[in-house]
């Protein structure tokens, strides 16, 4: 092991242990639990609201007795085309003559959300609808047209389609793009949560004056890199912990599934379908390279924040710096997200080359582009930038803080001594 590497590891080891061996680290580790709990509570509340509101919606046709059956049949046929939330509200058919006949009054009846009411002859119906842009009124018009067409053409035997799944024949581009976007989002979220800490990491050494011992004993480059590595270790530990939790949770859930809950099988099948829509480079490579990009993304942004934080003199300055830093991260995310949804464009090319968005954009590219060699190039390019940022940060630190140039830096107190 070279002395340089050994120095890095000594610093990294100290930082890692100092962070992990504190009670507050437990809080940090478990913080996502609060997020999950809040999310669950919110989600349940929202879905209950949605549940209670659903079923109360309706569309109403006021029709002659002769048309009722035809309308119902047409509704059954058409409704089959729609899935899930796209389905039109429940159809209610009323006979003409039953009071009240005015569609506006029907629409205002209490106890149900009435989206549209159709009355009058089917050839020229009058449709009252709540939203001019809504589809309910159009659906009623379609229904009327269907009934008329049936009547004119007589009963036509329905087509007998045979559905074949495309799932194994290759992933759709849309699915790959959304996988790419997912990768961008996950890496961004993890970096946002974890890399921001590095901004305050040198504040400790400045506060307790250990920085001079470090600066005297080892090259500053290895101090910076060591700190970065220590934080990366914490981040990886954090991710590993939650992956293990998720995996364990999945196993427990798997043992709990019994025949009664086979109803969920439909959903599981869907998930399997999503899994089957492979990223272009294949799952193992994609996950591996995604992790590698997380590391370079962490190191790149972490190095920038470390360098900026090293210049800050007080805790307040560090707090002030956290906003521009977050905005910078969000900017990189937006750029990469835009690139992920337009693979092959000039914007995507830019996002892939620009060093700070490169890890995110390249992870997205791994989902849509089968070329694997380019990732080696990208990782090398990003590593080069990590080195460059560290080099620059150390230069600035030496010139500014260690030389006591400006008066707002900690070393300035030793001025003239």
């Amino acid at each position: 092991m070279t002395p340089f590497l050994r120095n890095i590891l000594v610093v990294a080891r100290r930082d890692f242990l100092a962070i992990v061996a504190t009670p507050s680290f437990l809080l940090f580790l478990l913080a996502p639990l609060f997020m999950v709990a809040m999310g669950l509570a919110g989600g349940m509340g929202a879905s209950q609201l949605a549940d209670s509101a659903r079923g109360a919606g309706r569309i109403v046709v006021i029709a002659d007795a002769a048309d009722v059956e035809a309308l119902r049949a047409a509704d059954r046929r058409l409704r089959d085309t729609f899935r899930g939330s796209e389905a039109p509200p429940q159809l209610e058919v009323r006979l003409v003559g039953a009071a009240p006949a005015d569609p506006r009054i029907v629409a205002r009846e209490k106890g149900a959300d009435t989206y549209a009411v159709m009355s009058g002859p089917l050839a020229a119906p009058r449709i009252v609808e709540r939203n001019a842009d809504g589809s309910s009124g159009r659906y009623l018009a379609l229904l009327a047209g269907e009934v008329l067409r049936d009547r004119a053409a007589g009963r036509v035997a329905p087509a007998a389609p045979r559905f074949e799944s495309l799932q194994n024949g290759g992933a759709s581009i849309a699915a790959q793009q959304s996988i790419g976007f997912g990768a961008v989002f996950v890496i961004f979220l993890l970096t946002l949560l974890l890399a921001g800490q590095t901004v305050s990491s040198l504040a400790e050494e400045k506060g307790n004056k250990v920085i001079e011992i470090l600066a005297a004993a080892v090259p500053l480059e290895s101090v910076f890199l060591g700190k970065l590595l220590g934080f990366l270790g914490v981040a990886v530990l954090f991710i590993a912990f939650w992956l293990a939790m998720a995996f364990g949770g999945g196993l427990i859930a798997a043992t709990q599934i019994d025949a009664a809950s086979l109803a969920a099988a439909g959903k599981a099948g869907k998930a399997a379908g999503a899994l089957a829509s492979m990223p272009a480079t294949g799952w193992p490579f994609f996950l591996g390279v995604g992790f590698a990009y997380f590391i370079t993304s962490f190191l790149l942004l972490g190095a920038v924040f470390l360098g900026i934080g090293a210049q800050a003199g007080t805790v307040r300055e560090i707090q002030m710096l956290s906003l521009p830093i977050t905005i910078f991260q969000v900017g990189m995310f937006s750029l990469s997200a835009a690139a992920a949804s337009a693979p092959g464009s000039g914007l995507a090319r830019f996002a892939q080359i620009f060093p700070f968005s490169s890890p995110l954009a390249m992870a997205a590219r791994a989902a849509t582009d089968g070329d694997k060699a380019v990732h080696l190039l990208a990782l090398g390019w990003q590593a080069l930038w990590v080195a460059l940022v560290i080099w620059l940060a150390v230069r600035l630190f030496r010139a500014g803080v260690l030389s006591g140039g400006g008066n707002w830096k900690f070393w300035a107190r030793s001025k003239g001594r």
Partner: protein, 318 residues
């Protein structure tokens, strides 16, 4: 390998317009104990930092351990900074091993040596205690151990005695002598003359950013004339006694105090013996390093004051 462990020449550092260090040169012979003395704010710490390559000098160079760049021999140097710093959450043993590890010492060896050192210095009770629970002096001893745990060839201590009680100061002196016996070169700064006088083979005095003296302790003391304390047996005729003594002799209680040049010792003795006033007490001694130091620093300050007056006169006449 040559005979000097530290060769710094012409070190100069500006902080803004202020010249904190002005062409300071240090040459520390290998195996010696070397003191850098100076009043507060003279530029000692900045000079040491530049010597060790922690900050870059604006001018001048520093070579250590036989003409090597400071950055290339980090593992062979031990340094106690003036601003003491340890991680408060670390245990003493770990803190020492950490500082050793930074200098390339194996962790387990560092822990072992930490325990040995601490037991020797009477700190065995706190070997596994966290730094934040210790007194300032204790923490300082821990840091001192940390800076020599890897058995460095060159040990640089910035104000090592400040903040220590007399017992620990004594222990530190013992430690410094032992490290010298091991073959290490020790360079330390202080403004307490007693330690320098007892320990140092050579000293440099820095005042007002520049080096004002370099040499042995005796050479420094020789800068001032010898001090005489003479008590005549017969106190009767003061004027007659004073006539035999150099002008400016001062009488305090029964004794006369005055300074004489080295060449005047024998004539003085002859005159006193001949005078018939008798001798009930006589001491002729070199002034302490303390006096030499104060003398040098005052002289420098006086020069500065004169310069300032001249400037003021020039300005007024302009």
């Amino acid at each position: 390998m040559n005979d000097f462990s530290v060769e710094a020449s012409g070190l100069t550092k500006y902080f803004g317009d202020f010249k904190a260090v002005d062409h300071v040169s240090l040459a520390v012979p290998t195996g010696s104990i070397y003191g850098v003395l100076g009043p507060n704010g003279a530029g000692k710490t900045t000079s040491l930092r530049m010597t060790l390559g922690i900050i870059d000098p604006d001018e001048g160079t520093s070579r250590l351990l036989g003409g090597l760049k400071p950055q290339s021999v980090r593992g062979r140097i031990g340094y106690l900074p003036e601003e003491r710093g340890l991680y408060p959450g670390m245990k003493a043993r770990e803190a020492i091993a950490f500082m050793g590890a930074l200098r390339g010492l194996d962790w387990s060896e560092g822990r072992r040596r930490a325990a040995t050192f601490m037991s020797e210095l009477g700190l065995e009770r706190v070997i596994d205690e966290k730094i934040r629970k210790m007194s300032k002096g204790m923490a300082q001893m821990i840091q001192l151990i940390g800076s020599i745990v890897h058995a460095p060839d060159l040990i640089v201590l910035d104000e090592p005695f400040s903040g220590l009680d007399p017992v620990n100061q004594e222990r530190l002196e013992m430690l410094v002598r032992r490290e010298q016996a091991r073959g290490a070169t020790i360079l330390f700064s202080t403004h307490v003359m007693a330690h320098a006088e007892r320990l140092c083979d050579r000293i440099a005095i820095i005042a007002r950013s520049a080096r004002r003296f370099e040499g042995t302790v005796d050479e420094a003391r020789a800068l001032l004339p010898m001090q005489v304390r003479y008590t005549p047996r017969e106190q009767g005729d003061r004027a007659a006694v004073a006539a035999n003594l150099p002008a400016g002799a001062e009488r305090r209680d029964d004794a006369w105090h005055f300074a004489i040049e080295d060449s005047d010792v024998e004539p003085l003795l002859a005159r006193i013996t001949a005078s018939g006033h008798g001798v009930s007490g006589l001491s002729i001694s070199r002034p302490a390093l303390h006096d030499a130091f104060v003398h040098i620093v005052r002289q420098v300050d006086a020069d500065f004051a004169a310069d300032a007056t001249e400037d003021a006169i020039e300005e007024a006449s302009a």
